[in-house]
């Protein structure tokens, strides 16, 4: 399945294509996406995260076509 991931500053984008999409196996969760972009656990704690604009926890399961966004509350959007 294909998922769009919009990583915050300082994360790794190598696993994503030019339009920020990644090809991923079924059944993975937001926390796996965090690992994919090499976002450390401390940073992950500070982030607000959303799937298709809906706030979620790292346990949220992902589906084909989902858009995963991250946001430091202090970076002002």
């Amino acid at each position: 399945m294909r998922v769009k991931i919009l990583p915050p500053h300082g994360c790794d984008r190598n696993a994503l294509d030019a339009r920020s999409w990644a090809e991923l196996p079924e059944g993975i969760r937001v926390r796996d996406a965090l690992r994919l972009i090499r976002c450390g656990p401390l940073k992950a704690k500070l982030l607000l995260m959303s799937v298709n604009g809906e706030r979620c926890t790292p346990e949220r399961e992902l589906h084909d076509g989902d858009v995963v966004g991250f946001f430091f509350p202090v970076s002002g959007g």
């Binding site: 769009k4 919009l6 339009r19 920020s20 604009g53 858009v67 966004g69």
Partner: protein, 717 residues
């Protein structure tokens, strides 16, 4: 059925007549409604060289295609005309309830020409149209006039009427005046208020109750429900706003990343646009000291303009029609310093920035008062702020003397003097009168042109192109120059347009310097931004819906469901492109030379700022604008001498099967095609279609309409 009413209302104030006119469906297919419909009509009907304040100018009010369908964030109304400020295309948009009110009267748009002899207001309840005496309301401020009209019409109409009106600024023909509704929400830009004032039209009052059509309301509703459900969950912990200033300082130094646009919704829900003020001060986005200062000049001002101060006195959120976001708010300002009023609409970021950091004014309380004063007067806060900034800088540099300013000590941050000057501008008294037509006129009269920040005659919105060079492209290339709501890099990164448009470049992580490039890639970004914004305006959408991104606010899906179409994003972007092209054509017809528009040196970083987040930045604005035109396929020379077509495609005719039915010419949304070519069909003399003006926009409607396949569209050479 589609979402269009299929009708427009045409009013002639001189003849005191009104008629309902049908619009062919091809027009909606080509340009939607809203700003698109206005561009189509005004381009055709305002004669070249018309006096913006004379009877030939036409003032248009339009609702967008999606208004009334159940689609969220589609309650914006657009007013358009020939701008007295720039001499070219003018438009402004506003929220509230006026957009559905237009449609509930049974029209997609209202076009008003002529000049009334005495002050009148236009009344329409969907059955009758009347011009009524407005002498009792002339002279009242916009909020009072609206109240008085509501009071006088109470019980007379079955439905509570919606009022769009001008205040004293429009009545006194200030070229920076706008049109208000809902107690001081204002369609502020382009001098639209002066045009209404010149027509002696105090108000448009709409009280129709017709149903608003939609092709597939169930699908539209499902799309809205999905969005609404998400937005309901978008709340932030209280108090976070105090960190925004620090975040802005950080942002000033970080590379730009594509963001999830939905996250902007948190900001708008929590604080509204004012969340941007402290961010703008520290990041370099917000102009300081008449665009010449740096954050050093206003150290710690972000604390004063921290959004939590305003949230604390907010009594209720304010939502425009059909908006689940509600970025607006009502504030209780009773008893605050300078305040003459109990309540005000939450000031927008633009207003706070224009009367705060731009003037080095540290008093938030004074901004509440200025906001309410200017909204009631119906004067544009962006233009007024830029004009006051010019006056202060002229005064500080000895170009203006105390005698000239009527004794006002116009030094930076002198709150009392700023308030007094604005009151004088509104009343058109003394020095206030002399500068009430904006900064271009003021500097032509008094000098200090180097301090006059305007683009093509209009004062720019409060975002610095040195921080986001894409803004500079739109400031200049936009047919209504100086607008800040057409495109920025940061928004482009948030909208994910590449997911609906095949030619829109993907947003990628990049350094700020990369944005200075005049590459075709950057130009395609600015083009995509402009096309999408025009599409949104044709749909009647809100800029903040747009900013959330195509995965949140699903414009393409909304339009397909509302109109019964099955078009892809590329097709819709072409509609946006067509609207933008029509507006540009309007300018050329009116003799407004788009190639002559420049950013003021200071705004372009000539010379660059010595410190702060924008240190050392000089824009390559002219090259970027040239690339933008190239991306649109507009030929600079042909465009500016009015001798060309600006299209990328044009119709070619194989006359052999032509039966002279005239369907193609009727289908042309800009009347570029006429049945005027004389020839023979067999043994009969006949007329055939040909291009009769330079105005062909390459839309292909003629080719699609022709039943005999006479017309094909060919790429321009």
């Amino acid at each position: 059925m589609s979402s269009f009413t299929g009708k427009i209302l045409r009013v002639d104030l001189t003849a005191r007549s009104a008629e309902s006119v049908s619009v062919p469906p091809e027009v909606y297919e080509a340009v939607l409604a809203g700003k698109g419909l206005e561009a189509w009509y005004l381009y055709k009907h305002i004669p070249a060289g018309a006096d913006p304040l004379g009877p030939e100018n036409i003032l248009a009010f339009a609702a967008g295609a999606l208004c009334g369908t159940g689609a969220f964030l589609t309650g914006r109304w657009t007013v358009a005309c020939k701008s007295p400020l720039t001499g070219g295309w003018g438009d402004a948009n506003c929220g509230g309830l006026f957009a559905p009110a237009i449609k509930q009267c049974g029209y997609d748009a209202i076009f008003i020409s002529g000049v009334a002899e005495e002050p009148v207001y236009l009344f329409c309840d969907g059955k009758s149209v009347e011009l009524r005496d407005a002498s009792a309301y002339w002279g009242l401020d916009a909020t009072e006039a609206e109240k008085a009209l509501h009071r006088d019409l109470d019980g007379v109409c079955r439905k509570k009427p919606c009022v769009a009106c001008i205040g004293p600024a429009g009545e006194k023909l200030s070229l920076i005046s706008g049109i208000c509704n809902e107690g001081g929400r204002i369609a502020a830009r382009s001098g639209v208020g002066a045009v209404m004032g010149s027509k002696k039209l105090k108000a448009v009052v709409l009280a129709g109750a017709r149903p608003m059509p939609c092709h597939d309301p169930e699908t539209v509703k499902a799309l809205s429900k999905e969005l609404g459900r998400k937005l309901l969950k978008m709340t932030l912990p209280t108090g976070l706003g105090v960190f925004i200033g620090a975040g802005g300082a950080m942002m000033g130094h970080l590379p730009n990343i594509p963001l999830d646009g939905s996250l902007t919704a948190y900001m708008f829900r929590e604080w509204g646009t004012q969340a941007n003020t402290s961010l703008a001060i520290t990041s370099g986005d917000g102009p300081i000291k008449n665009w010449g200062g740096t954050p050093r000049d206003v150290r710690l001002m972000e604390v004063v303009y921290n959004p939590e101060h305003i949230n604390r006195i907010e009594t209720a959120k304010y939502h425009c029609y059909s908006c689940p976001l509600g970025c607006g708010g009502k504030l209780n300002i009773r008893g605050r310093k300078y305040a003459q009023f109990d309540e005000t609409h939450k000031p927008e970021y633009e207003t706070i920035e224009a009367f705060g950091p731009l003037l080095m004014n540290w008093s938030l309380d004074s901004i509440f008062q200025l906001n309410e004063l200017l909204n009631r007067a119906g004067m544009d806060t962006i233009s007024a702020g830029n004009t006051v900034a010019w006056a202060i800088e002229c005064y500080e540099n000895g170009i203006l003397t105390r005698e000239q300013t009527d004794g006002l000590e116009l030094s930076w941050g002198n709150t009392g003097a700023i308030l007094e000057l604005v009151e004088k501008m509104i009343a058109r008294e003394g020095f206030g009168d002399a500068i009430a037509d904006g900064v271009k006129r003021a500097s032509e009269r008094f000098g200090g042109k180097e301090y006059a920040m305007h683009v093509g005659g209009q004062e720019p919105g409060m975002h610095d192109a040195r921080n986001d060079p894409q803004l500079g492209v739109h400031f200049v290339a936009e047919p209504a120059p100086g607008k800040h709501t057409v495109g920025m890099s940061i928004e482009y990164g948030a909208m994910s347009l590449c997911d609906i448009c095949s030619w829109a470049p993907p947003a990628v992580l990049h350094d700020k310097e990369d944005e200075l490039s005049a590459s075709m890639n950057m130009a395609l970004i600015s083009k995509a931004n402009a096309c999408y914004t025009m599409l949104v305006d044709g749909a009647g959408g809100c800029y903040y819906g747009q900013m959330m991104g195509v995965h949140m606010w699903k414009l393409v899906e909304y339009l397909n469901a509302a109109e019964g179409w099955d078009y892809d994003g590329d097709h819709y972007m072409e509609i946006g492109e067509r609207i933008q092209t029509l507006r540009q054509l309007f300018n050329i017809k009116q003799g407004y030379d788009p190639a002559a528009v420049r950013l003021p040196d200071r705004m372009a970083g000539i010379p660059p700022l010595p410190s702060g987040p924008l240190k050392g930045v000089t824009l390559r604005n002219r090259e970027q604008v040239a690339a933008h035109w190239k991306a649109f396929g507009w030929d600079r020379h042909r465009r500016t001498d009015g001798g060309g077509t600006m299209t990328k495609k044009h119709p070619v005719f194989d006359y052999l099967p032509c039966v002279s039915c005239g369907i193609c010419a009727q289908a042309c949304p800009v009347s570029a095609l006429g049945m005027s070519r004389e020839g023979k069909s067999g043994k009969y003399r006949n007329v055939f279609p040909e291009l009769v003006t330079d105005g062909c926009i390459g839309c292909g409607q003629c080719a699609r309409a022709c039943p005999m396949d006479v017309i094909t569209m060919e790429e321009d050479a």
